[in-house]
């Protein structure tokens, strides 16, 4: 290590083994080339579609608010679906989150809790909605059930992670005082997770309102159903009006929920 001090330095490569590194790069390029070459994209049809899209947009202007009664009804239904689903979903999420938190649940219960969350998370709400529409029929009830599942997938998971981060000393103090299990949860854990719980609930309400518009399209009620009907009847001007209102309402609800969550920090 004698002599001149070195004055060049290079960041070590992302993958240390050069053979592996180059095969990853070359492999990725080859795969993309192969996908581009083999995916059946019919450019003729795309061209036709562009024309059709032009007609849709042409028919959509100016947006029509003539049937605003229908629009408002649809929206109120979406709001009801979102509120009901959030309430039910969050209430169910709390016990599931406790089950899925490694530091408070015994191992078999923990696996059960994790399993419930994984199942709730593994399907997109649209797929869940299709199943519930088949199971309980068209309408808002299917929407509520769908969003309850959707809420559990998110709220229970995030809450379980929060429970795993708590200061366990407080739990220890309650145990040392001979407190029974539920009292320990209520005194040592609830106060610690409460701010996150409220923030998650508000976020989920906002998220459910958005999702309720989507699941409505497959028949689960709300503004989404109104939108799907408008498309079905080629009422593109009404559809545009609905879309604009959806965007507006979601902007507002996101603004409000963001403000509230910032306040409770």
């Amino acid at each position: 290590m004698s002599g001149e001090t070195r004055d060049t330095w290079q960041k070590p490569p992302f993958i240390a083994n050069p053979v592996l590194r180059w095969s990853v790069y070359v492999g990725a390029i080859l795969y993309f080339a192969w996908v581009g070459a083999t995916l059946p994209i019919d450019w003729g049809r795309v061209a036709e579609g562009v024309g059709r899209a032009g007609r849709i947009f042409g028919g959509a202007f100016p947006p029509s608010f003539e049937r605003s009664g229908l629009l408002i009804d649809g929206f109120l239904e979406s709001l009801k679906i979102a509120i009901l689903a959030t309430t039910g979903g969050v209430l169910l999420s709390i016990p599931i989150a406790f089950m899925a938190a490694r530091n408070v649940a015994p191992l078999p219960i923990y696996y059960l809790g994790r399993f419930v969350i994984i199942v709730a998370r593994s399907f997109h709400p649209v797929i869940v909605a299709i199943i519930f529409v088949k199971a309980v029929g068209f309408g808002p009830f299917a929407g509520v059930l769908t969003l309850v599942v959707y809420s559990i997938g998110f709220v229970a998971k995030m809450l379980a992670e929060r429970i795993e981060e708590i200061d366990f000393g407080q739990v220890e103090a309650m145990r040392a005082a001979g407190a029974p299990f539920l009292s320990t949860m209520v005194y040592a854990i609830f106060p610690q997770i409460m701010p996150r719980q409220i923030g998650l609930t508000i976020y989920q309400l906002d998220s459910n309102l958005r999702a309720s518009a989507v699941v409505g399209i497959v028949g689960a009620g709300g503004i989404g159903a109104t939108l799907a009907n408008a498309f079905g009847r080629y009422d593109y001007d009404f559809a545009l009006a609905i879309t604009m209102v959806i965007v507006g309402v979601i902007l507002i609800s996101e603004g409000i929920s963001g403000q509230i969550r910032k306040r409770i920090g």
């Binding site: 000393g169 407080q170 220890e172 005082a177 001979g178 029974p180 005194y187 106060p191 610690q192």
Partner: protein, 258 residues
């Protein structure tokens, strides 16, 4: 009376942290346990109220064998053992009164606890104790608004609310400044006298141990190697307790074993 006989605690398959330890605490004495970090002081205290499971041996408190209790009977026994923690372990977001009453959780129903319907005599007792340690005016203040010394007073009152037969204090002053630390030690000693309560204190500060306690137990790597009045703790005894390191002790044991 607390009687610990042949207590062994071993984490996993390694060397035991507590090695065939015997200790008896009688009457209302204030006993301090000193020793370097890793000597097993905290483990010893936590074995008594079973926050840590002893591997073998016996711990008897006023005739009740603690090591074999489970479920309801364990909780009933824990109610009789108050504990004060180094990090206070208060529920930050609850009021001082709720924190103090959490010492009664083993006595009241979960429903009463959730609804904060505390029995009248518990509330009276809480005010008496809070008055005694000077925090009564904080009853409605959130625990995280208090200073370290005030928080530890809440911790002490919470433990006393249990109506304990013994008080364990796991380095109760290690997170406090020197002056506050002496106040808390003085408070523990005085309360022990007033309530006729034996107190067992883990402590790093030997000067405080000598000044505030009646008896000093010196631990070194899982064994008690000193147990006498504070006056007998001389330089030679201090050296025996604090010299070397847990690692050196471990290798010494290995040499003896082989």
């Amino acid at each position: 009376m607390l009687k610990i006989t042949d207590l062994v605690k071993r984490y996993g398959g390694g060397d035991p942290v507590l090695k065939n330890l015997d200790l008896t605490i009688e009457g209302e004495s204030v006993v301090s346990i000193i020793g370097s970090s890793g000597a097993g002081k905290s483990t010893l205290l936590r074995c008594i109220n079973r926050l840590v499971e002893p591997s073998s041996g016996s711990i008897e408190l006023n005739g009740t064998e603690l090591t074999r209790l489970r479920g309801r009977s364990l909780r009933a026994a824990r109610r009789k053992i108050g504990m004060v923690f180094q990090g206070f372990n208060l529920v930050d977001r609850l009021t001082v009164m709720e924190n103090v009453q959490s010492g009664r959780l083993g006595y009241i129903s979960t429903w009463a606890a959730v609804m904060r319907r505390y029995p009248k005599e518990d509330i009276r007792r809480a005010y008496e104790l809070m008055e005694r340690v000077g925090i009564a005016h904080y009853a409605n203040t959130r625990a995280d608004q208090l200073s370290g010394g005030e928080r530890q007073r809440v911790g002490v009152v919470r433990a006393l609310m249990q109506n304990p037969e013994i008080l364990l204090a796991d380095e109760p002053t290690a997170s406090l400044d020197p002056k506050t630390s002496e106040q808390i030690m003085g408070l523990l000693r005085d309360l022990a006298g007033e309530l006729k309560l034996p107190v067992l204190i883990n402590i790093h500060n030997v000067t405080e141990a000598k000044e505030y306690t009646d008896r000093i137990v010196g631990m070194r790597y899982g064994r008690i190697i000193f147990d006498d009045r504070p006056a007998s703790l001389d330089k030679e005894a201090m050296d025996r307790i604090y010299s070397g390191s847990p690692h050196a002790d471990r290798s010494e044991d290995l040499r003896q074993a082989s």
